[in-house]
Symmetry: C2
Subunit: 297 residues, 2 copies
């Protein structure tokens, strides 16, 4: 993490955590349990990849990173809701996340479903009430989130992922890529694009940074699969080899270890190539792409 530019991420993260910590949704005492449940989930830490990416992209295109905070927080709330719902007994049935009970274990299933649901409306409030910009810009931010959270986005990706579980290596490469493009890639790409929108970047530069982010999301997933297949449980902090046990569709299962490593390298190369089309200081994005590729190794 000593590479030039990477210290910027920690600075964005601290600013973002402080903003998130200050968010409340109601002063009605009757609704305090719902609000506590939402804050329990959204303040659980984590790398905050999406919001800090949004802030860094805004910075690259000449805005103060703080300008992007309302939209960056909206993205993180939507990401948080997707984790809450994915953890539910009817889906991945996880009891723990980041070392703490998942929301349906801490409260109950109904609260977990509803807290997740409430995050979407609150995310929209952040954007439409608190994000600075022209109506055209704010609308473009909303449209970007609409794109990445519907059927051909985050939700459809989760449906595909669940449908493929059990099939393992029988999943075809096209479907595997589609799962991850929709499930995690879409919102990561939107994070970058929204940073570009609020900073008023040109269309070609927005496209370049979107392309970078799409590859970043893909590479992140491939490396996740590689780590799951090759690490010890101790080094990983979660059960190593669990993907294979569950018959999950993974890049290692479909392409083999060497094939998956090659896919990750190619994806990283495409991410770095996309950055060449941007005139600003992209050292932070370059550092992030290399970090994502080589983490854990």
């Amino acid at each position: 993490m000593a590479e030039a530019g990477l210290e910027r991420w920690e600075s964005h993260r601290l600013v973002f955590e402080e903003y998130l910590e200050g968010l409340t949704f109601t002063e009605e005492p009757e609704l305090s349990t719902l609000q506590e449940a939402m804050r329990y989930s959204m303040l659980a830490g984590g790398k905050r990849v999406r919001p800090t990416l949004c802030m860094e992209v805004a910075r690259i295109f000449g805005a103060e990173p703080e300008l992007a905070l309302p939209s960056a927080a909206a993205i993180e709330l939507i990401h948080t809701y997707s984790l809450i719902h994915d953890d539910l007994p009817a889906m991945d049935d996880d009891d723990f996340r980041r070392g703490r009970p998942t929301l349906h274990r801490k409260y109950d299933e109904a609260m977990a479903i509803l807290a997740g649901d409430a995050f979407f409306g609150e995310a929209l409030t952040l954007i439409t009430v608190h994000q600075q910009g022209t109506p055209e810009q704010i609308l473009a931010v909303v449209r970007e989130l609409a794109d990445s959270t519907g059927v051909e986005g985050m939700v459809g990706g989760q449906v595909l992922d669940m449908a493929q579980t059990g099939l393992g290596s029988e999943t075809d490469p096209r479907t595997l890529r589609m799962i991850h493009r929709f499930k995690t890639g879409a919102l990561i790409k939107s994070s970058a694009r929204i940073g570009a929108i609020v900073a008023g970047a040109s269309e070609p530069e927005s496209d370049a940074v979107s392309e970078y982010a799409a590859e970043l999301g893909l590479c992140f997933q491939i490396v996740d699969d590689l780590l799951n297949a090759t690490s010890t449980t101790e080094a990983l902090g979660k059960s190593a080899g669990s993907d294979e046990e569950q018959g999950k569709a993974t890049f290692v299962g479909v392409f083999g270890l060497d094939g998956a490593r090659r896919e990750a390298d190619e994806s990283t190369a495409r991410a770095l190539a996309a950055l060449k089309r941007i005139s600003g200081d992209t050292s932070g994005l370059r550092g992030l792409a290399l970090f994502v590729r080589h983490r854990g190794s």
Copy 2:
């Protein structure tokens, strides 16, 4: 339903059903099951109160009712998602809705959670891509939905409702009103307000029609409680007296039969008074308010 203006609702409903029938979300074969599940829920019929209210309000303020269709459909998709999630085993645990298996019975719980989730993104796409209007108008539509679907809206109302179940008549009147203002009132109010927004109505007239719709939503709920307490199961088409059995917080439980009837009359009077502040032809809205008050009696 023979009262002047009421035939308009049927005309709006037919136009709306045709629009909804034409909505698709993806052409990816891998996502066809998700799309089928969503269409199963959204095409289950029903009165379509919210979208037709939106269309009628747009008409009153001088627009073609068809202008409001994308936003009206977005509202109905959000309403549909709330029904799907409310029916889940962890919430109301209903096996049937409108005589057909609920979505989690027809498919499974995971699909029901995810289909519900997907509706929100698709609703935003309808508004941001297909609704005609200035960027300011479209943004006002999104902000309206943000308001009515978050913590102090539909989701918070459902949380409050579940928290009060079992307490029955011990619920205080303020909490009871809050439950319904948030749970169903907020989205019904937004339906009217969004019709006014897309038609470019003035602020005072938008406020008047919002007030009307808030009272309409309240009266609808009070009459629902009255019917549940006084009808036979046969006449109601669902289990009569089920609210009391489940210990639900109802207007009849809190105010008694006569008190609840008085609340309904007062609410209707306020709804009709609000209409007087609108210069257009509000006979359809007037007829709807009277129909809602006297249905089943």
